[in-house]
Amino acid sequence: MGLAASDFRRLSMTAHTNDLQTAVSILLSPGGLTLDALDSGLGYAMGAGIDYADLYFQRSWEEGWILEDGEVKEASYNIDGGVGVRALAGEKTGFAYSNQITADALMDTGKTAAGIVRSGKQLTGQAVNPVTAASYYAGIDPLAGLSADEKVAMLKDADRIARAADPSVTQVSASLSGTYEVVLVRASDGTLATDIRPLVRFNVSVIAVKNGRRERGSAGGGGRYSMSRLRDEQVSERYAKEAVRQALVNLEAVDAPAGQMPVVLGAGWPGILLHEAVGHGLEGDFNRKGSSAFAGRMGQRVASKGVTVVDDATLRDGRGSLSVDDEGTPGQYTSLIEDGVLTGYMQDKLNARLMGMAPTGNARRESFAHLPMPRMTNTVMLAGQDEPDDIIKSVKRGIYAVSFGGGQVDITSGKFVFSASEAYLIEDGRVTAPVKGATLIGNGPDAMSRVSMIGHDMALDTGIGVCGKEGQGVPVGVGQPTLKVDELTVGGTQS
């Protein structure tokens, strides 16, 4: 059964007033602020000539536990928070931030942000308009879902299971991390929005040694939910076994081939292809500036027929999901490519306004101390019709890649890479020997036009992605069905 991305969307309208009260009590009350006080805070950031200003309040609690050699060796706890104030005038942005959430800090940062941009048209005042949005995850503290003893027990389980899985396993490390984040956005266009964003992750990495060879395997996942769900879903066992399986496969790997050949990508995390080959190139800022290889191609064919790509912030509990983005725009399902034709960009308010488009809920920032930019959430290719087996059978000589380390793109030339960490040869329509990790390189528009078969087995990744742009990291998701690219360059050592 193929799952279309929209099948994951089980909307639950929660009472956002509860979130608002929580956010106010966590973010504003400790510094003696009230919601009403934000109007004057915003006033400092406005002044003549400012088109738009916003205040972004954030507080986060982050916890990390690391097991090595069968013991929890590291445990850390990090508290961060503050307010970022932004003032926009035309294409200009002034930005300042403070670790203090107080009236004085709002005045200082607001005046600073406004003082550094000077032109633009006069703003007309807007009434406060609380944003109504669906919730795509529960507004909870995910760290509280398990006791410290239970967290330690999960890590020890992973260690025990991985070591029992195969005698060649010599090292096991496991980590459990989570973030409880509360944000509140107040903008001069009337926006008042809050969001409570849980995020958790469990990871296992092993080293296996056999016949003098040493290899690593790793597996992990998570999403926007409580740590208790990681335990309930028994991820210790799942990821421990998966990490060992991958290490054992890599112990048998032969040198990868070098050159151009058909590449079959597995379902799920290999969707990193979409993130690099098309995703970044469809972010609003690059297209407004004309620096993307996709600039000016709206309505044109940019991929094979049958290729439909969406950015979907509304996937239930997804790692990249957002109930509201970091400008307070509700998270959305945005169609990027429909049946091969470019249909949409991902926008924040600044770039949407300058391009005469609507914001798409893709404004994201690493923290209050960073400026928002158009960013991906969960980027997904919808399912096609093909049997995954038939896709493999159609290849005479090529590569079947099922897991990847990471990728990168030059959005201007369109060149992108992604590095396989588990891959196999396909010989005469059959998956044969595992091959060593190799980087695949292509050109975004070319590669998408060479997608010739699309499986019906759409799957999301397990929740491990971090996207980097201009030095800011944000959690993202990807997903795709098994698919075949007729020709990509495979960077092995066997020429």
């Binding site: 850390s76 508290i79 600073t112 990728g407 201007t412 590095s419 092995g492």
Partner: protein
């Protein structure tokens, strides 16, 4: 600068806060504790197509506390400078330590190793830079690049300038502190032909603003690097020598240090496990660390746990002469710390240096790589496979730009196949290296 920053006052405040945190930890039951604290302030401006795009004022602070209860360890950090938050952070570190396991190797570095020689290494050069002046410099950089014939647009020029203070203190009574600054200017330009767009960039970065390159020179170099990429083709698939640009050669040194790092070694996650005192590079190649170099990028008299830094020689006459260790990783390996908690500081190569023309001649036919993409490095096996762009070279002469290809090999074999190091040394980062010529890598292209 729009915000005043009194580094000395901040330093006094941080020391006081660190000592207060240590006292709290002791009072609340920690057997030992260590604290890292920092404050950084800066300005960043970016311009694009002759207009100001962003002006950002930054001020970041943080304090991180690690406590030891017996052989158990807990850490906590916060960006909130209040006394109440400090207390909560110490409490959290202690409460979390109760759940970690006994680790015989855990603990502070030995008291006898704490740095006592703490000279001023001249790494703090604040820049009294107004926002207007910062914008002016970025604009002049971009304009010089845009004026070059063939440049069709700019992706912007950015200037950033910052200074900060850091303090490290521990319950041995050690308090180390250093003020530092960093200033940089970069420019990204775009050119277009019938084949499509290409971009490239240049930057200058220094601790002292007087050491920055001329903004116009940065803009023009960005233009030169962008224009030379137009008309790129794909190279043939095969085995060829590869010449790495200096900044990319520094990256190879970075991979080497990653494999020599104690953390990777005791986890068996390095391709250089059990290789001490064995050959890795040709015998004419040595690599050493100069942590006390005056005014250099990464200079510091003490490492991340207060240990006196020293001139380590990691590669001597081609052999691995030392690993890169902290106290913890050293204990795990049954060795002594090399004063490298937090990494290596200022790596310098000792080797006979060739001018780049001689390296091209030595290469004959092969690939000159000026950009690498992606993360295709396996630190466990040394397997290396990355996307690349650069130039095709025949008989020592550059023929045409190339792109959309990969270079692959294995780091251990690549280090052994190093045949020359250039005198075109890039001094912008903490690793200073010239170009590297490496024989026999696999190119995947057409």
């Amino acid at each position: 600068m729009a915000q005043a920053f009194d580094a000395s006052a901040q330093q006094a405040l941080l020391i006081q806060r660190a000592e207060s945190a240590l006292a709290m930890a002791k009072r609340m039951g920690a057997d030992a504790a260590e604290v890292g604290a920092s404050v950084d302030q800066g300005i960043g401006v970016s311009v694009r197509q002759g207009e100001v795009e962003t002006v950002e004022l930054s001020r970041d602070q943080g304090i991180a506390i690690t406590v030891y209860v017996g052989q158990r360890k807990g850490s906590a950090s916060s960006t909130d400078a209040s006394e109440a938050s400090l207390l909560a952070t110490v409490e959290k570190a202690l409460s979390i330590a109760r759940y970690t396991g006994e680790d015989p190797s855990a603990g502070l570095a030995d008291a006898a190793l704490m740095a006592t020689d703490i000279p001023d290494l001249k790494v703090h050069h604040p820049w009294a830079l107004t926002t207007d002046r910062a914008i002016e410099l970025a604009l002049s950089c971009e304009q010089a690049g845009r004026e070059v014939t063939g440049i069709t647009q700019s992706d912007g020029a950015s200037l950033s300038s910052g200074e900060g203070v850091r303090v490290y203190a521990n319950s041995h009574g050690f308090v180390g502190t250093q003020k530092g600054s960093r200033h940089s200017l970069s420019c990204v330009l775009i050119a277009e032909d019938e084949q499509g767009m290409q971009r490239d960039m240049d930057y200058t970065s220094a601790r002292n603003p007087d050491d920055l390159s001329d903004p116009a020179a940065v803009g023009r170099e960005a233009a030169r690097r962008t224009l030379r990429r137009l008309g790129a083709r794909r190279p043939p698939t095969g085995t060829y020598p590869v010449l790495f640009d200096p900044s990319l050669a520094s990256g190879l040194v970075g991979h080497l240090m990653g494999a020599l790092a104690g953390g990777a070694l005791y986890r068996q996650a390095s391709f250089l496990c059990d290789r001490l005192n064995t050959p890795l590079f040709p015998d004419w190649f040595s690599l050493e660390e100069r942590p006390m170099e005056i005014g250099a990028t990464a200079s510091s008299p003490f490492d991340g746990e207060g240990v006196q830094t020293r001139n380590n020689r990691f590669i001597e006459n081609g052999q691995i002469a030392s690993y890169m260790l902290s106290s913890y990783s050293a204990r795990r390996l049954g060795m002594k710390t090399t004063g490298n908690a937090g990494g290596a500081r200022n790596l310098r190569i000792t080797a006979p240096l060739s001018n780049p023309a001689a390296l091209f001649e030595q290469m004959g036919t092969g690939v000159w790589v000026t950009e690498l993409m992606g993360q295709g490095i396996n630190g466990v096996t040394g397997d290396y496979s990355r996307g690349a762009a650069g130039f095709w070279v025949e008989n020592g002469v550059v023929q045409y730009p190339i792109e959309e290809f990969t270079i692959a090999g294995n780091l251990e074999r690549m280090f052994g196949a190093l045949v020359g190091v250039g005198d075109d040394i890039d001094r912008r980062g903490s690793i200073h290296s010239g170009s590297w010529l490496i024989d026999g890598m696999t190119i995947a292209g057409n």
